[in-house]
């Protein structure tokens, strides 16, 4: 019965070895998926299934013009969703993100059109307004301890009113500024599209390969080289196809007006994705966000500045909402009291959750928000083409969200089944 361990020499453990085989890699991935860490899988599968479905029903869905259209339609929601991921990771919610985007867009519109100031002032003011809003929400949640659900629900109502006030009881302000209109309406020239593609692929390959070399050199666990190369090739193929398609003529009447090139909003989304992912996965702040969402008490004991981290998450969320508002204003070339209203917030939360963020906190990536945003955009676009009513579209989007939340809840339950405490 008694366990005597007083004399027991230890022996070194074999943890590092030669590169694991590709098969091992696949097996490890499969077991991860089986244990509930599904990551981006449901969203990617959903995108493929939806594209096949809508493409089969209406070939217009798969046309180049509609592809470009999809990016424009989904961009604002994708921006807001990427920001929401930050507050979802720490286990909070921001219900006011939609109207925050509306308020910021209204501020920009007033500055550009009513005051006639230049676009840097308008965009700068919108982003600063978003930051201040985030700081306020964060301070109320963190310093006063009011649940974020309540604080942001109050802000949801208040900002709806604020937008009305800024827009003088509901006028519609047109945006004439060409720079701002180009954010969602402009396209890169064909050659700039190819240049951007080349730079992206080269940088991605360099990052992946240098990481592989560093880790294999140090004898750390690393993906096998064939897997790394396949990944680079897959991304290159996907991006090349996208740029090729977007560089085709998509105007209905090319003699009158030519319409080609990668939409500028794609570049914006790409840049936000890269910066957001870097912050989340490569910086101490990002690590602390996940820690706070996973176990706040543990983070506190480990010396994480929990309050600061939590407030920062709200600031980022509202800042990204401001960007979303600018994109929405750019696409509509106007701002009205409904900008950022109606279903924008719900679609954004839906996008983040469909992509794999968890309302329980501790989980979520910027990539997931983009993928989830794509799912939401495709559903709305495809059903619009089918001529279905807004009512049907809302109902289906709601069902998809429920499905995604169900996958999340089930993967957590499965974790418990397998002996996690």
């Amino acid at each position: 019965m008694s366990i005597d361990v007083k004399t027991r020499p230890g022996s070194g453990a074999e943890r590092t070895g030669p590169a694991r085989q590709v098969l091992d890699h696949a097996r490890a991935y499969l077991s991860k998926v089986r244990s509930g860490e599904v990551g981006a899988l449901p969203a990617v599968a959903g995108i493929i299934a939806l594209c096949l479905f809508f493409g089969a029903l209406d070939p217009v869905f798969l046309s180049v013009g509609n592809l470009a259209n999809l990016f424009g339609q989904g961009a604002a929601v994708a921006c807001i969703a990427m920001g929401l991921v930050f507050v979802l990771i720490i286990g909070e919610i921001d219900l006011s993100a939609g109207f925050t985007s509306g308020v910021c867009a209204a501020i920009m519109a007033v500055i550009l059109t009513d005051l006639g100031l230049s676009w840097p002032v308008g965009i700068g003011a919108a982003v600063i307004a978003g930051t201040v809003i985030g700081l306020t929400l964060g301070a109320l949640v963190v310093k006063l301890g009011i649940p974020s659900f309540v604080v942001t629900l109050a802000a949801f109502l208040a900002f709806q009113g604020l937008a009305l006030i800024i827009l003088k009881e509901g006028t519609n302000i047109t945006i004439d500024n060409e720079f701002v209109k180009d954010i969602a309406g402009g396209n890169l020239s064909r050659s700039h599209g190819w240049l951007l593609l080349a730079v992206t692929v080269v940088v991605y390959a360099a990052v992946q390969l240098s990481r592989w070399r560093r880790r294999s050199g140090r004898g750390l666990v690393h993906d096998p080289l064939p897997v790394v190369i396949t990944r680079i090739a897959a991304l290159t193929g996907l991006l090349t196809a996208t740029v090729f398609l977007l560089n085709l003529e998509r105007s209905a009447n090319p003699q009158l007006v030519s319409l080609t090139g990668v939409p500028i909003v794609v570049v914006l989304l790409g840049a936000l994705f890269v910066v957001g992912s870097f912050v989340l996965h490569r910086t101490r702040f990002g690590r602390h966000l996940y820690a706070v969402g996973g176990n706040r008490e543990a983070a506190l004991r480990a010396g994480v500045a929990v309050d600061r981290v939590r407030i920062s998450a709200f600031v980022i969320c509202s800042g990204m909402a401001a960007v979303g508002g600018i994109v929405a204003a750019s696409r509509a070339a106007s701002v009205d009291p409904n900008t950022g209203g109606s279903n924008v917030l719900l679609l954004s939360v839906g996008a983040a959750v469909i992509g794999g963020a968890s309302l329980f906190g501790g989980k979520g990536t910027v990539r997931a928000a983009l993928l989830g945003g794509a799912v939401v955009a495709i559903i709305n676009n495809g059903m619009g083409l089918m001529g279905l009513s807004a009512g049907v579209r809302f109902a289906v989007t709601g069902l998809v969200l429920l499905l995604a939340a169900g996958v999340d809840a089930m993967s957590r339950g499965q974790g418990r089944l397998f002996g996690r405490h």
């Binding site: 996973g294 176990n295 983070a299 004991r301 010396g303 989980k363 974790g415 996690r420």
Partner: protein
């Protein structure tokens, strides 16, 4: 002596939880702290860890007396605590947990490779063979593996004294054995270990010395080799055992 506590007292309001407790622990030894529920073991640990301020008495580390006002102060003195409710983040992996709050950076970028390597070396030095993949999330680990991560996290930081509050309370036999082996290895590497437990089998398996708290007072500190379990049981339940234990102010056993 690495750590010397003398005449430590601590009250919560009118309740005196610790009363003039003396205890010293040397490098390279496992000192077990035993006592009934509510005897004050966890409170004593929290006083050393800087979570509770002591009312009176002194805490000396290597002969110099120190004020320990916060967990940060304790960490600076090389004192690390593995808490009863393991403070781990389920959604982070093994390496991320071990370095939480003290991440290694290259510029502003996390140096994940260096952290992973250091974590692997630490686990290797502790002869831990139960954790194969350092990149799996802690949620997927068993109780014993989680405890191992928590302990390895504590020794990563040039710590000199590691305090474990009931580390095996929730574990099965095999996992308890793994953790006890690990505790022994810490001491064999020259760390001082304060090990709190209810289970006397575990205590006798791993401890060099045994300190028994009784209602907030130190009943006796004994060499494990010259002590029997029944003696320790008596000290725990009544505060004394023929000739040993708490005496009143005249030196007579009450």
């Amino acid at each position: 002596m690495l750590l010397e506590l003398s005449r430590i007292s601590k009250s919560f309001g009118p309740v005196e939880v610790l009363s003039e407790v003396d205890l010293s622990i040397d490098a390279g030894e496992v000192c077990a702290l035993v006592g009934d529920n509510g005897a004050g073991k966890s409170t004593l640990v929290k006083c050393i860890a800087g979570i509770h301020a002591i009312d009176s008495g002194t805490i000396a580390v290597e002969g110099d007396s120190h004020e320990i006002g916060s967990p940060r102060d304790a960490a600076a003195l090389g004192i690390e605590v593995v808490y009863q409710d393991l403070a781990l983040c389920d959604n982070l992996d093994v390496v991320e947990n071990m370095f939480l709050g003290r991440e290694k950076l290259r510029g502003v970028v996390l140096d994940d490779d260096a952290m992973e390597q250091l974590a692997a070396e630490t686990l290797e030095s502790l002869a831990v063979r139960t954790i194969r993949n350092l990149r799996q999330t802690v949620a997927s680990l068993s109780g014993g593996q989680r405890q191992t991560v928590a302990i390895a996290k504590a020794v990563l930081w040039n710590s000199r004294l590691v305090i474990l509050d009931e580390p095996t309370a929730a574990l099965g036999v095999a996992q308890t054995r793994q953790v006890l082996e690990l505790i022994r290895r810490l001491a064999d590497q020259g760390l001082a270990v304060l090990y709190i437990s209810h289970n006397l089998n575990d205590v006798f398996a791993v401890a060099d010395r045994i300190a028994a708290l009784y209602l907030g007072r130190m009943a006796a500190v004994l060499d494990a080799a010259d002590t029997t379990q029944s003696q320790v049981v008596e000290l725990i339940t009544s505060g004394r055992s023929n000739g040993l234990g708490i005496t009143d102010s005249n030196g007579v056993q009450p």
